[in-house]
């Protein structure tokens, strides 16, 4: 039986779940995979929290683990991009495989890290970095290895999906739903990272890089969160036959790759529309296998630890094989698409004064910018501002930007206009 020696860096919730899971599944993995996974070194900031889980001496020196002679795989569960980056660099240079759940690190420095891994003849596993327990990395890399991707997109952040679900089902406003998410531990006390779409952007950049085997760095993405959404947007969308979801979207368009994160009106009969609460899902469309979707739990200590363990089994099996099955993980140059020319439909909510001529002026400016109107909703209201909801036909993203900047200067506009894209032809 092959013995694989693991150095664990970072032992918070995921790390301690991993230690327990390794113990519980030791025998099964030995029988099924002919693999003996042994943790030989642990570093964490607060050793006292995990002392009851292990016999191994626990240090606080993260960096030393990465250079230890007796470690085959370094598991990086520190998070952040500073110490984690040092640990991963050092591990790769010392020819150790790395398994990590750190999407921020890979999204921001993946290109350099995968190149370093390739040069050193080792691999980086990151199943746990995207969509928790959903084995989407393995699915893209092995399961759909014969496919050419046209689109990959998904609900990649559980916190925002929970907030949107509650805004709809309980008719709560954004602030209330966020507060409940915080009370339940689904959202951080500073929720920016989740609600402004940054976390989802990290994840879609990783998925897109893998699907297209092209560099899709975080810095290329345009990112919009959900904090501007109001109850009326949720309800009006529903009455129009849509549900608002925060999607990470990457698609081939205009000869390049367009990748972005924004709230999106998803038709109620689309499979992504029915992924509720804190669940995650990834939808894809390929030339050969058509469309498909995977869905499941996006986060949580045990689900994430199970993804780390699946990577340990997979990469552990591949270590010390003489005829290396090593892929070149380094990406070709980025092919960024011209977003201004991307065609979209929009849901537009104008907050206006209640006076004659408003709708005709809005329609005039949209028309001048080559945007035609598909439907208008305006309910009789006793107080200003009045919400005028317009769903448009397709036009270039650039035309929308131009129109809204003109309209928002008008004296009858009381608040910045909210634009939410309809799910594009995915």
């Amino acid at each position: 039986m092959k013995q694989i020696r693991i150095g664990l860096v970072g032992a918070g919730v995921v790390g301690s779940n991993l230690l327990q899971l390794l113990e519980k599944n030791r025998q099964t993995i030995q029988t099924r995979n002919q693999l003996d996974l042994q943790v030989v070194a642990i570093a964490t900031r607060t050793p006292s929290k995990i002392q009851h889980l292990t016999q191994i001496p626990i240090s606080t020196d993260a960096k030393s683990i990465a250079s230890r002679e007796d470690v085959d795989i370094v598991v990086e569960l520190v998070g952040g991009t500073e110490i984690a980056s040092e640990v991963v660099h050092s591990a790769l240079k010392n020819k150790k495989a790395v398994v990590t759940a750190n999407k921020a690190l890979l999204s921001e420095k993946g290109d350099e890290l995968f190149q370093l891994a390739f040069e050193n003849g080792v691999e980086i596993g990151y199943e746990a970095a995207v969509a928790g327990s959903i084995p989407i990395i393995r699915t893209l890399r092995d399961g759909l290895s014969s496919c050419e991707f046209e689109v990959i997109c998904g609900i990649l952040n559980g916190t925002t999906n929970f907030i949107l679900t509650k805004m709809e089902e309980e008719d709560w406003d954004y602030g209330t739903a966020l507060k409940v998410a915080q009370d339940l531990g689904f959202a951080e006390s500073d929720p920016t990272f989740d609600v402004e779409g940054i976390d989802a952007a990290h994840k879609i950049s990783l998925l897109a890089s893998l699907a297209y085997r092209s560099k899709v760095p975080f810095s290329n993405l345009k990112v919009e969160g959900i904090s501007k959404l109001k109850s009326i947007d949720i309800q009006a969308s529903k009455s129009l036959g849509y549900r608002i979801k925060l999607l990470g979207i990457s698609k081939i368009t205009n000869g390049g790759i367009l990748t972005k994160v924004h709230p999106t009106l998803v038709p109620l009969n689309h499979p992504l529309a029915n992924v509720m609460n804190e669940s995650n899902a990834v939808f894809y469309k390929t030339v050969e296998a058509g469309a498909g979707m995977v869905t499941g739990k996006g986060a949580g200590g045990l689900p994430t630890a199970s993804a780390v363990l699946a990577d340990l089994i997979y990469y552990g099996s591949r270590i010390r094989i003489q005829d290396k099955i090593l892929e070149n993980n380094s990406y070709p140059i980025s092919k960024k698409s011209r977003e201004q020319e991307n065609k979209v439909r929009n849901y537009l909510r104008f907050s206006t004064l209640d006076k004659p001529g408003v709708l005709s002026e809005i329609a005039r400016i949209l028309g001048k910018n080559d945007i035609s109107i598909a439907s208008v909703q305006q309910k009789e209201s006793e107080k200003e501002p009045v919400n005028v909801i317009v769903v448009t036909h397709e036009s270039n993203e650039g035309n929308f930007a131009q129109s809204l900047s003109e309209i928002d200067k008008a004296s009858f506009i009381k608040e910045k206009t909210v634009a939410i894209r309809l799910l594009e032809n995915l």
Copy 2:
């Protein structure tokens, strides 16, 4: 670059799609996977159909391919269990890996074939055998390798899902929907294999074997198809908040594994309820990663060929590796569960005479067998038989069998009672 030599046996729709896909993706696979996949021998019944696709001489002698010195992987796309079985046996004995789309063969003879593969140090790939383009085999084997399964179930037959969708959406009866499926090429002229659940049973037996690493032979399964369903069942279920789906279900119960195929009332908000038309889906529940679902195209020449190619890339990469990463695919002994003790809820449709005392007699017999009633629907009708629709609370499967055999003997019963299980606590 590693060269892998392929012997292709059977070149119908999937085989010819595979030849084209291999040609189209040759360069990509060389770059990404450092693998040169070369078809060196082809056998098929009608060589004329694929002569334009290849330069290779085409023979009609399937068996000779399996013993050729210059073949590394035999791709078996013959179908059926006779010639296919001979070809696969011979290939494994000659120490060649096998990639196949043949669920019937593996479901009926898998135990013996996987054992033979293990003894000869080679592997069998069968991603294309279950749910076409959905990479569920890779997902179970690698992606969720760290998980303990509680349930695996799915919509595994596109033909029956198409028929059920049309019965609901177009309000067609079963015969009309079947006829349309046949006209569109989704159903065979003899549809028994699909509509009676045999195809779904082959597939769930393969998925269950893999999820539980236990023998789940086809012969252990109880299989029920959709041919007895009427429009009224579809409509009544919908009004109760359910949609009827033909599910293959395998779950841990009573200390064993219970595996079966039957029409099932799935709550409308369950993800399986929203898988429509000819799509397939697999839902699972694990201890570690919770619940998840994968969905996509279940069949078609190109999707199935893409799954075969994914297997060729995967197993091709593993061939001639000195330190073999070979799993023992042979299963432990079967742990069959006692189905009679499995607890279920049922939708029961009684076809009765329109006279007093019928409902009370039905209720009496159910009650005597420890089955309590959750709801009753009976619409006023001018003609007999009258449909009495009862939804029950939970009771043992054995109690239902006993009750219905008693009730169906009553003189007021005009047609055999239809029982459709509600989705169990999955």
